[in-house]
């Protein structure tokens, strides 16, 4: 499963490096959803738990980091504040995962889904209803830039820097996830996910093995949230709705539950398609993006309908994702084996 994911992840990350504002922005967003997908994969994929509230942890991280920077900007050097906010975000999200996980993970299947969905919604509504001075309510929370200002002059550097940062983040998280899944504790997690009863009877504490990946997944989502807050500059509750949860879920399913490189690939495909569809009709495709035929301008108007239709069709025809549970490396290897006629035939 995961042991060979690392090389292909790196390759994928580095080969997308062109400049250009649109591309770098896309890269950042791809990285964001790749992080979210990886963290969600830990829970829904490997853990086979059905969480529909992951966007709540993302929001927790974003708001934790955002409000720290909002209230404490200037009190310490920028990079230090950035780091502190990230640490806080991860901590808060992890704590949230613990508080939600311990009671809820007793629930099975669809009941867990509903409970986590409820939590996600409660969180968003809470943020909306708290006084404006605290978290910005519906108007949004401004997050002062502490690493680099985003002015018209520095825009290019800003975007490129963030794209690089996201690539690093994704590689790091992919590495962590792979490590976790192939470790001893990871095995107990997988065992509990596949047959909890048998695991329990063979000495594995099922609660621990379910709560731990849930907390780690939440923490990683919190990390993504912190990065999101810093990149965007402002965050508002409307950006953390169930629709975003659906996107994350889509990334995970499209990439194949339990495939790290598949997750990253899926994030890229999904966001690319989404952005292109949105811009195509408006004739605003940037240089470097293959343009759509001119007569397809209706695409922009109906893009939301098409997006939904594509989602449905994808589920009908490729429910196990683009790569299934295989990694990119496995796919390449089996393709090479087929071509040369050699190979042991083991794997893939």
């Amino acid at each position: 499963m995961g042991s060979d994911a690392l090389p292909s992840t790196l390759v994928l990350g580095l080969s997308l490096g062109p400049t250009g504002l649109w591309w770098t922005h896309l890269l950042v967003m791809v990285g964001m959803y790749a992080l979210l997908g990886l963290s969600l994969n830990l829970i829904n994929g490997y853990g086979r738990m059905f969480s529909l509230g992951h966007h709540g942890f993302w929001a927790l991280g974003a708001y934790a980091a955002g409000s720290l920077v909002h209230h404490a900007a200037g009190s310490m050097p920028g990079p230090l504040l950035f780091l502190a906010s990230v640490v806080l975000a991860v901590g808060v999200a992890a704590l949230g995962g613990l508080l939600i996980g311990v009671p809820c993970l007793r629930l099975k299947g669809d009941y867990l889904a509903v409970a986590t969905l409820g939590f996600g919604e409660i969180l968003r509504i809470t943020i909306q209803n708290l006084p404006e001075g605290l978290l910005g309510a519906n108007i949004g929370l401004t997050v002062p830039r502490v690493l680099l200002e985003k002015t018209p002059e520095t825009k290019g550097l800003f975007q490129a820097g963030w794209a690089g940062l996201m690539v690093v983040a994704v590689v790091l998280v992919a590495w962590l996830v792979r490590n976790l899944v192939t470790s001893a504790r990871g095995r107990t997690m997988l065992a509990v996910a596949q047959d909890e009863v048998a695991a329990g009877l063979l000495g594995v504490d099922p609660t621990r093995s379910k709560v731990a990946p849930f907390v780690v997944g939440a923490a990683l989502a919190g990390l993504a949230g912190a990065l999101y807050a810093h990149y965007q500059g402002t965050i508002a509750p409307q950006e953390f709705t169930f629709l975003e949860m659906v996107k994350m879920l889509l990334v995970v399913v499209l990439g194949g539950l339990g495939s790290i490189s598949g997750c990253i690939l899926a994030a890229f495909v999904l966001l690319y398609v989404e952005q292109v569809l949105q811009l195509a009709g408006q004739d605003m495709l940037p240089a470097g993006v293959p343009p759509l035929p001119a007569s397809w301008t209706w695409l922009a108007e109906w893009w939301s309908v098409i997006y939904a239709l594509v989602l449905v069709l994808l589920m009908i025809f490729r429910p196990h994702g683009l790569l299934g549970t295989r990694e990119l490396n496995d796919l390449l290897r089996s393709w090479r084996t087929r071509r040369t006629g050699r190979g042991t035939g083991a794997g893939a």
């Binding site: 829904n44 059905f50 009671p103 809820c104 007793r106 629930l107 099975k108 299947g109 669809d110 009941y111 889904a113 509903v114 409970a115 969905l117 409820g118 939590f119 919604e121 409660i122 509504i125 809470t126 209803n129 009863v197 009877l201 659906v246 879920l249 889509l250 995970v252 399913v253 539950l257 108007e301 109906w302 939301s304 309908v305 997006y307 939904a308 239709l309 989602l311 449905v312 589920m315 009908i316 429910p319 196990h320």
Partner: protein
């Protein structure tokens, strides 16, 4: 305490609508273990069908007093809404859900979400986002016999030209909302040659709620009879209990599933019309929040259980109406803004105490 009964009625009325929607969720879940996220949209489509049906049947032109045509029109609209929703659900099941039945829970869920988004956006594109007020019966009042009205009592809408059926040259102004109908207005109307005005006759919100509750009270035994006594109902129960065994017994699974979808959606369509009538406007996003809440209600009652759906719906409605009130009485002034969050919190609390819902069956796993 006098407004308590208003809140109680609010809660039961809302709860009854949740129950109508929740029934569809629970029946579908019971039979194929799918959380049909698109069910809220079926509800919304029902509301739209009802709206167009009432418009098409000319409810707006029907003069009062002569309530029977109006009542008949409403019944026809309900029936059409139910049938239309049911048909939509069957089509969706056949095209989108059946192919993914074997693909696993998350894939099925995403398909349902996709269908939900599809329906929402399609409706948005076809009918625009402008909320449409529900059609209502109107009462004709001749200009001379217009009672002396205080500002705000009888008002003028944007002018909509309708024939009143009595004389084809008359144009009338629909008195609805907007400007107060005082002396100056009356003079102007007379000068422009209007003979009179139509006044919207609407039931009060409370009357609507009573109607919905009555509808539920009438419907629940019907549903109980359908599920317990008819062959299709028994087949439904068999399939939800053990699909493989049912298949081996010769029960046509696909047809039973379609029947279940139809029935659940029919009920939701009725609910859609009721909701639009009670709470005002018909718009594409109508199904989103009530849909989610109704799903929560179904889970609270124990998903898969029909009495559970009804109980869950009523309980959730009551909680939504009464809990914020209680909290406000205890000193928390902004409690009402948190109504939705409280509803979800209530769900989580119920699940922690009863992991399979109030009336749900505990899951036993055989070792």
């Amino acid at each position: 305490m006098s407004d308590l009964h208003v809140f109680l009625l609010n809660g039961l009325g809302l709860g009854a609508i949740y129950a109508f929607i929740a029934l569809g969720y629970t029946m579908v879940y019971g039979i194929i273990r799918l959380i049909n996220f698109a069910h809220g949209e079926v509800f919304m489509v029902g509301a739209y069908i009802g709206y167009f049906a009432l418009r098409g049947l000319g409810v707006e032109q029907m003069p009062l007093p002569a309530p029977w045509p109006v009542v008949l029109a409403i019944l026809v609209a309900l029936l059409l809404a139910g049938l239309g929703s049911g048909l939509l659900a069957v089509v969706v099941e056949r095209l989108a859900y059946r192919p993914v039945r074997k693909a696993g829970r998350i894939a099925a869920l995403l398909t349902a979400v996709g269908v939900s988004l599809l329906l929402q956006n399609l409706t948005l594109r076809l009918f625009t986002a402008t909320p449409r007020p529900g059609p209502a019966a109107r009462e004709w009042i001749a200009l001379e016999s217009l009672p002396a009205t205080a500002p705000g009592e009888l008002r003028v809408d944007r002018t909509v030209r309708l024939s009143d059926g009595r004389s084809d040259t008359d144009e009338v102004v629909v008195a609805d909302s907007g400007v107060a109908l005082d002396e100056a207005w009356r003079a102007r109307l007379a000068a422009e040659g209007h003979q009179g005005v139509f006044r919207r006759v609407e039931l009060t919100k409370q009357q609507h709620q009573l109607f919905v509750i009555g509808m539920l009270a009438l419907f629940a035994p019907t549903l109980w009879w359908l599920v317990k006594r008819t062959r299709t109902g028994k087949a439904m129960r068999a399939v939800s209990e053990d699909m493989d065994a049912a298949r081996l017994m010769g029960i046509p699974i696909d047809r039973v599933v379609m029947a279940t979808f139809f029935l659940g959606a029919f009920v939701a369509g009725l609910g859609g019309v009721a909701y639009a009538a009670t709470y005002g406007k018909v718009e594409p996003m109508l199904g989103f929040l009530p849909g989610m809440k109704a799903f929560v209600a179904a889970v609270i009652g124990g998903i898969g259980s029909i009495p559970g759906a009804i109980l869950g719906g009523l309980v959730l409605g009551l909680v939504e109406a009464l809990l914020p009130l209680l909290l406000m009485r205890m000193g928390w002034a902004e409690a009402f803004g948190w109504t939705d969050a409280l509803a979800f919190l209530f769900l989580i609390v119920v699940l922690l105490v009863k992991p399979t819902g109030l009336l749900g069956k505990p899951l036993r796993e055989k070792v």
